[in-house]
Amino acid sequence: MSEPYLIIEGLTKVYERGQVVALKDVSFSVDKGEFLVIIGLSGSGKSTLLRCINRLVEPTAGHIFVNGVDVTTLSSGQMRKMRRKMGMIFQHFNLINRSTVLTNVLSGRLGYTPTWRSLLGLFSRTDREMAFRNLKRVGLEDKAYARADELSGGQQQRVGIARALMQDPDLLLTDEPVSALDPATSHSVMQYLEQMNREDGVTVLASLHFLSLARRYGTRILALKDGEIVFDGLPTEIDEKKFREIYGEEAEEVEVR
């Protein structure tokens, strides 16, 4: 392990409308196999940071190296290839509601499927087998032909995880994966992420709202405030004082058990 898996150098994002600075000169690096939890208030730049890494949001300045490749300089075609290895999980699941669970899971394979085949909805036999395997892994194999919007929130997020698994990712970006879910479901979803991290060796970047979840699942915590890093260290290092620094004086910790 000579070089970290993900290096972010001087990342800055300014949203043009209203000149809102979402990220100010953010630099850090992540080793392979880490479970990095990003915390911070709403609007502190967590989502922007994650979206800059797979360039769903175009960074204004700075460099992002994934496995030694500077993704900020890639052409859109090269970026598409790069994204295949980066799974993403969203707060609101971002499933295609009217399609079946199976189609949703298979869509994780689109980056590997030739365009003309995917336009006709033709996925290879191995892809289909893989889809059922991954659905089984998240415990939804009996829901394969249900419509995605018929599932509960936790089930939908598990479909999201299965979709990410289809990509066979090296890096998983999860943008507040559990903030739309109840506490019990949150843990089950987080455990799937933990499993991917431990067993498949996927490097996970997760933004979370609850510090208790961050402490429980993260191997390292990064805190953002107004687009700047205010804390970077082990989960155990966050005490009462640090907590107030990140969330402001008024804040009180809420726990998810």
């Binding site: 969203f90 609101h92 971002n94 009217r98 399609s99 869509s107 689109l110 980056g111 979709r163």
Partner: protein
């Protein structure tokens, strides 16, 4: 504290030019309303009490249409009176703080310190002409231009007032619309316009009653329809460019088929085009923006030309009375109308799934196939069915200008005064249109 108050004022987000534009547009609106009332009242005066005759012809009384749209006959100083009179009234109204023009653009007259009192109002009215005359000079000289935006025009500065964004005082209730200035003026404008229109178009309810006997004969014939040619073809079409024999049933089926073909063909073209006309898909790059603009421009242009006018074009091109001409006209209009509706649906979709497909490494086409199309299919179907409805109704009358279909018979019988046969055609049309309307309505309910 004061800085905080100013930053919450939405006015500050606007550029200076836009602030001035809002004031100018508000002024123009006020002036237009005042002038309209003045013109209308002078016109009405001349119509009812005027005695100007030209070669024995009092055209205000006898030709009210021409009289309204021709300049009012005024003495040479009259126009100057109107110009300055209305201007004065407008300035006066605006000085009272919340004129309609000011309200329409969310402005009000405010004092820079204290309240707007009578003294400030009078000063403002008196200095106003000077301020406006000097405004172009103020704007032309760079050194003064900055002063215009920070301290206002001359009359603003001298009177210590300015027209600024209006913030409704919290705690005070909003009035009912018809009790506000806008409500009162709106009612006045509407009734005045109705009254003017009544005079100008020379509406006469007496005609409706006076000619009731002539109309009754025709109506009686229509409600006793003659179904001779319901299934037996009428040979009249032998004399036409499209020589075939058709009965009412034949032509009705033909009409429905024309509408169906036009809808399917139109939807087939509109579907791919609608993605090019969707802002959220296209406007990420400059070239995409151009494609978007051209597509939307095409939709708007071709939609604004009514189907009947397209029929005129294609009847000349393809042949008068040829159903193909009618179908082509319907297709063109359907593409444009459906394209616009489809595009708006595409613009209204949830962007989350698009993001998800992109994040998986999907290409633009894959995003459309997997994230956009599944979201829009139901509304596309509903719109297409609705368009079929419209096309069936349109197809029944396009024969008026040579588009073919059931209208051919209808207008032929009307020309020959064969009202009983007209009745038969109309009944067939009503039954078919009503049935299709009902079916498509039910299907649309199911989909949506």
């Amino acid at each position: 504290m004061s800085t905080k108050a100013t930053t919450t004022n939405p006015e500050d987000a606007l550029t200076d030019a836009r602030k001035l534009r809002k004031r100018a547009l508000g002024f123009a609106l006020d002036w237009a309303i005042v002038y309209y009332f003045l013109h209308a009242s002078m016109y009405l005066y001349l119509v009812f009490w005027g005695s100007q005759t030209i070669r024995g012809w009092n055209w205000y009384k006898n030709d009210p249409y021409t009289a309204f749209f021709n300049p009012l006959r005024l003495p040479s100083w009259g126009w100057w009176l109107i110009l300055f009179g209305t201007l004065g009234v407008v300035v006066l109204i605006r000085t009272f703080g919340r004129s309609l023009g000011q309200r329409a653009f969310g402005l009000s007259l405010q004092a820079r310190s204290g309240s707007v009192n009578l003294v400030k109002r009078c000063i403002r009215i008196l200095v106003w002409p000077m301020g406006v005359i000097l405004a172009p000079i103020q704007l032309a000289i760079p050194a003064l231009r900055h002063g215009v935006f920070t301290h206002g025009l001359l009359h603003d500065r001298i009177s210590g007032t300015s027209i600024r964004h209006y913030v409704h005082p919290s705690g005070t209730p909003y009035k009912r619309f018809w009790k506000t200035q806008w409500g009162i003026v709106a009612v006045a404008l509407l009734s005045l316009t109705l009254f003017l229109g009544w005079i100008i178009i020379d509406a006469d309810l007496g005609i409706l009653i006076g000619r009731v006997d002539e109309a009754r004969n025709v109506f009686l014939e229509i409600v006793h329809p003659d179904f001779t040619h319901f299934t037996t073809p009428d040979p009249i079409f032998y004399q036409r460019a499209y020589p075939q024999m058709f009965s009412i049933v034949n032509l009705m089926l033909l009409t429905v088929l024309m509408a169906l073909a036009a809808t399917i063909l139109g939807a087939a073209f509109a579907f791919p085009l609608s993605f090019l006309g969707a802002r959220n898909l296209m406007c990420q790059s400059r070239i995409g923006w151009w494609i978007y603009s051209v597509t939307r421009g095409f939709f708007n242009l071709f939609r604004s030309i009514e189907t009947l006018i397209w029929v005129i074009v294609f009847a000349v091109w393809i042949g008068y009375g040829n159903p193909f001409a009618g179908v082509m006209a319907l297709v063109i209009h359907t593409i444009a109308a459906l394209g616009k509706l489809y595009s708006e649906q595409v613009e209204g979709i949830d962007s989350g799934p698009m993001e998800a497909i992109l994040a998986c490494g999907g290409s633009k086409l894959q995003v459309i196939r997997y994230a956009v199309i599944p979201q829009i299919i139901p509304s596309f179907l509903a719109f297409t069915l609705y368009r079929w409805d419209i096309n069936v109704r349109m197809a029944t009358i396009i024969a008026l200008v040579g588009g073919g279909g059931i209208g051919d018979l209808l207008f032929h019988y009307r020309r020959t005064g064969d009202w009983a046969q007209v009745g038969a055609v109309v009944i067939a049309m009503v039954v078919v249109v009503w049935t299709l309307d009902y079916i498509s309505g039910r299907v649309r309910e199911k989909i949506a």
